[in-house]
């Protein structure tokens, strides 16, 4: 499918999502319906995004962003789904583990480094750092006077 067709198809399926043509087609959805939206994208036979390349957490100063890169193993098209979590104090979002088992590790990594809590994740623990680590290192306001040199 070409990018124009992708945008057309996705906007007809997800009327609330904003599609944009960048390097890849970028779809912006609300954090509350992330699971529903991606379920629609995965189960539609024309889109069939069954392979989740990666999930990226982004610290956007006042909020958190999440970027899901999705690829279809049969049609071989790729899109990026973006969402924003407004609550910085207690960030929470629905886990995509029911759709993609790769989220088991990937969401644990984001929990470890950003402190975003994924609801309904089967095993929400830190993955790289030790359990008694204080703070979330990839946040922009993380302070570590010993190991991070400020120039």
């Amino acid at each position: 499918m070409t990018n124009e067709q992708l945008i057309q198809k996705i906007s007809s399926l997800l009327p609330n999502a904003a599609c944009q043509q960048k390097q890849y087609v970028t779809v912006k959805v609300a954090a509350a319906d992330i699971l529903q939206s991606i379920k629609v994208l995965k189960e539609n036979a024309d889109l069939f995004f069954d392979y989740l390349n990666t999930v990226t957490g982004i610290d956007q100063k006042n909020s958190f962003g999440l970027s899901y890169i999705l690829t279809s193993s049969t049609h071989r098209h790729t899109i990026i789904v973006n969402t924003t979590i407004e609550n910085r104090e207690n960030p929470e979002i629905e886990s995509l583990y029911p759709l993609y088992k790769t989220c088991d590790f990937q969401e644990r990594e984001i929990f470890d480094l950003f402190g975003i809590n994924f609801k309904n994740h089967p095993d929400m623990r830190r993955i790289f750092l030790s359990d008694d680590w204080v703070g979330y290192p990839l946040r922009k306001d993380y302070v570590d006077e010993v190991n991070i040199v400020q120039r």
Binding site: K22, Q23, Y24, T26, D50, Y51, L52, N53, T54, T56, I58, D59, S67, I69, T71, S73, R76, T78, I80, N82, Y100, K101, T102, D104, F105, Q106, E109, L113, I127, F128, L129, S130, P137, L138, I148, R151
Partner: protein, 377 residues
């Protein structure tokens, strides 16, 4: 007095005890500092829980404080056996974002070095895999031939393992004048040697019994877990980035994406053995046709990417390596995410080694070909 000896009939009637043991972080067959926490019932593995992070260096955080050309040197330190591909991912990302067209010569040399890296990586995997299973001879065979590739690297790039030969806009230097001759000599040599690998290990009855029908990963699960590279292709998941989104000189060459359907340990082994032949085919198509030209285009001294979101993927030796950059227009990336193939390949470990013997776990982890610095980042 308490009875200390157990009668013979008592042993046959007891239930197998449940144990929790740690495999690693210092264990020869985990190839680095990976710790697998195993719950065993007798000799049967019930739960595998990987504990990572022993060499977590925070490379993603470090990259937020350094410029784009500097990040290249850190991507070497992820999967050190596919260092050249990792470099290339960052360079391609910067070049695509700035819309720079690199000379044809650069594309050819990059692809040749990619395939040489893949060959060297698969040779090391082959020899270490054999050694994990108790076949010590493979280790000497593999390292002997890998040395020849490393010598070629040393002559052209200046270093043997982590080269950092790619820079945004091209290559750090032109190739050595003997490069083409030596690569052709190596291919001629290795075409004769590779059948020996098969004679030594592939056809071995003990090896086949230890790998066939062990650790079966279905195609659906491979896609769902995001298992890419030879491990995914062993399950029939067509995930070769060289075919899906061709980059550098891959659009110009003809090669096959080797797929197996069974998804067991032996299939993953066979995919890599076939890939070595395919790598040599690609090399032969390119090595005589390197176009003349410069080895790099002139870049601005300070590279700033336009504001936006970029994702670049390449096929590393172990799967899809991706760089996801969020730029805010500065000379340093705002967010630098690395999609490392080994991290996703590790996540499937519990799923495929459940209900196998503990010795099969060694075979399975060997066939997934894990490189630990790539997992921990």
């Amino acid at each position: 007095m308490e009875q200390t000896t157990t009668k013979r009939e008592d042993i046959s009637s007891i239930d197998y005890q449940e144990f929790v043991i740690n495999m690693g972080p210092q264990h020869p067959s985990t190839h680095g500092v990976l710790r697998l926490m195993l719950k065993l019932k007798g000799e049967i593995v019930e739960v595998v829980q990987p504990h990572c992070g022993y060499i977590h260096r925070g490379i993603e955080k470090m990259c937020e404080h350094i410029t784009y050309p500097q990040t290249i040197h850190l991507t070497d330190r992820l999967d050190y056996l596919s260092a050249h591909m990792n470099n290339e991912a960052v360079c391609l990302l910067v070049e695509n974002a700035l819309q720079i067209e690199v000379p044809e010569r650069v594309k050819y040399i990059r692809t040749i070095l990619d395939e040489l890296t893949r060959l060297a990586s698969h040779q090391l995997w082959w020899c270490a895999f054999g050694m994990d299973m108790g076949a010590l001879t493979t280790f000497f065979y593999g390292l002997r031939d890998r040395e020849k590739i490393l010598d070629i690297f040393e002559k052209t790039t200046g270093s043997r393992l982590i080269q950092s030969f790619n820079v945004p806009g091209g290559l750090m230097n032109d190739i050595h004048k003997d490069f083409q001759k030596e690569v052709k000599e190596f291919i001629k040599y290795f075409r004769k040697i590779l059948p020996e690998y098969d004679q030594l290990l592939t056809g071995n009855v003990i090896f086949q019994q230890r790998t066939k029908d062990i650790g079966i990963l279905t195609k659906e699960d491979a896609i769902n877990f995001g298992v890419t590279g030879p491990s995914g292709r062993g399950s029939g998941f067509s995930c070769d980035v060289r075919k899906i989104a061709p980059y550098s000189a891959y659009p110009y060459v003809k090669f096959e994406e080797k797929l197996q359907t069974k998804g067991d340990t032996f299939s993953r082994y066979m995919v890599r053995m076939h890939e070595m032949w395919e790598s040599m085919n690609i090399l032969e198509q390119l090595i005589d046709n390197i176009p003349e030209g410069t080895h790099a285009v002139k870049m601005k001294p300070i590279i700033k990417l336009p504001e936006g979101e970029y994702y670049q993927r390449v096929e590393a030796s172990r799967g899809e390596f991706g760089v996801h950059v969020i730029s805010d227009g500065n000379k340093t990336p705002y967010r630098f995410k690395l999609r490392s193939p080994n991290f996703m390949n590790l996540s499937v470990m519990h799923h495929i080694s459940r209900n196998h013997k503990i010795a099969d776990l060694i075979a399975i982890s060997g066939s997934l070909d894990l490189v630990i610095p790539d997992i921990d980042r």
